[in-house]
């Protein structure tokens, strides 16, 4: 077998993507916990920690560029590196959405939540699960799994609609809730975008495996 060192670099890259995925999952989970507890100091830490995710993205991108420049990858090796470049961009943006939820926690302040959180944690749970499995599908080159994960985005979209409707009712009933309800709508929007970005990753996996990039699930937002 030739190109052993190149394969080693590719494996290293896959490991880094996995690590970055875990960092993003942690950020999303922490942001929802901070929202539930209205914990502003934790929110500040989440915002500060997003810099690590951004740095990771640039580190991985640099490795990709080095591999392209020095190893002249073609065919599926090239598609993998291009896929990684796109995946880390999506992961980085997901990190930004978690950071966005952190900022909402700070804006929300000490006033109590207008209602107990049900659908929002559920949205986060599904999005995180989709993300975990998409990274797994990437490592296993599993295009079928990637396609299946994409279709789950509809569930997150439905929950988003539901959150929106419920909060609209609160706002109509009592205009004093408008600010806090809006914060929660933003939160739901951030989570909805995270799930959309998971579908981007899944499209990249299909591209990596099959060599073509289909639009798997067109988000309604």
């Amino acid at each position: 077998m030739t190109r052993e060192s190149f394969r080693k670099h590719i494996k290293e890259l896959e490991k880094e993507v996995t690590e970055m995925g875990e960092m993003v999952i942690t950020a999303i989970n922490r942001s929802i916990e901070a929202l539930k507890a209205l914990d502003a100091s934790e929110a500040k830490r989440i915002i500060a920690d997003d810099a690590n995710i951004n740095k990771k993205r640039w580190d991985i991108e640099e490795q990709c560029i080095n591999l392209i420049a020095t190893q002249q990858p073609v065919a599926s090796d090239l598609r993998e590196i291009i896929a990684v470049l796109n995946i880390v961009t999506d992961l980085e943006r997901m990190g930004d959405h978690a950071e966005g939820i952190g900022k909402i926690v700070i804006l929300h302040g000490k006033e109590p939540l207008i209602k107990p959180l049900v659908d929002i944690p559920r949205m986060a749970e599904i999005s995180v699960d989709m993300l975990k499995r998409s990274i797994d599908a990437f490592l296993k080159r599993d295009a079928q799994a990637a396609k299946a994960i994409c279709s789950e985005d509809d569930h997150v979209d439905l929950l988003h609609d539901q959150v929106y409707r419920v909060l609209l009712a609160y706002m109509l009933e009592n205009p004093k809730t408008i600010t806090r309800a809006t914060y929660l709508i933003w939160t739901a929007h951030n989570l909805e975008r995270i799930a959309d970005r998971v579908t981007n990753i899944c499209e990249r996996i299909v591209f990596l495996v099959e060599g073509t990039a289909p639009e798997l699930n067109v988000s309604r937002y």
């Binding site: 190109r3 073609v74 598609r79 060599g211």
Partner: protein, 254 residues
């Protein structure tokens, strides 16, 4: 005209004695494009190239079966005029093979053999055109009496290409035309090939996969005498259909 196939083989087999060097090769080479033939050493790519102007006839114990149609005629038929064939299907080799003659006489040689032009002015005009097409005219117009061997390797290779062009071929075969050249000269020759493709059908055999990817429009991958895959170069290098092609171009064997 663009994509019309100019060279087409049908069940082409070639034996060196008992060794089957080409195994049922069916290839359609599109006109006015660059087609690269790649594959590991001994896969038959040079053998295939040499079939297109019957250079293999010069080797003893060669047996060829099947058909090679060039512009609708099977060139393997007995009545094929080989001198005319090699004029129409020119060849450039790995090492520049200039004759130990002046630049002028190197270029005039083919014209004389093929009795193409006798008028001195016409010959001079043809030589100028030939050198212009390979970007050598400005450099060499005042040195035409110099021995061609005094030129740099790149200039010699350009001269070899001019020597082919001057005979107005339809097809130019290039067997590793840059392997004796440095990287910069290689890139300049590749640029030249990209321009020549508008007028000629070029078939290039190369060991250098990056060169095939850079320069060609179509790529054929050969392995153990068989044409494993043929397609647009972009497709071959981004999404080959055959696992064997993928492994070869990715550098996992060969």
């Amino acid at each position: 005209m663009e994509n019309e196939s100019t060279v087409e083989t049908q069940d082409l087999n070639l034996y060196y004695g008992d060794f089957r060097a080409l195994n049922d090769v069916n290839i359609k080479i599109p006109g006015r494009n660059i087609t690269a033939i790649i594959g590991p050493s001994g896969c038959g790519k040079s053998t295939l190239l040499r079939c297109f102007n019957r250079m293999n006839d010069l080797i003893e114990n060669v047996k060829v079966q099947g058909k090679i149609n060039i512009e609708g005629r099977n060139i393997l038929e007995l009545e094929t005029d080989l001198i005319f064939l090699r004029k129409k299907v020119g060849m450039v080799f790995q090492r520049p093979n200039v004759f130990d003659l002046s630049i002028y006489n190197n270029l005039k040689f083919g014209l004389r053999i093929h009795r193409m032009l006798s008028d001195k002015n016409q010959i001079m005009q043809a030589i100028q055109n030939g050198l212009e097409q390979v970007n050598l005219w400005q450099e060499l117009k005042d040195k035409l009496r110099k021995n061609a061997r005094s030129l740099t390797l790149e200039q010699q290779q350009r001269l070899c290409i001019a020597r082919v062009i001057i005979l107005k071929p339809d097809i130019i075969l290039l067997d590793e035309p840059c392997s004796a050249l440095d990287p910069i000269a290689t890139l300049r020759i590749e640029e030249l090939l990209r321009i020549l493709r508008y007028e000629y059908t070029l078939v290039i055999v190369t060991h250098n996969m990056q060169q095939a990817a850079r320069v060609s429009d179509y790529t054929g991958f050969m392995y153990l005498g068989q044409l494993i895959e043929f397609g647009k170069t972009n497709q071959i290098f981004t999404n080959p259909r055959e696992k064997l092609t993928e492994n070869y171009i990715s550098g996992y064997f060969g």
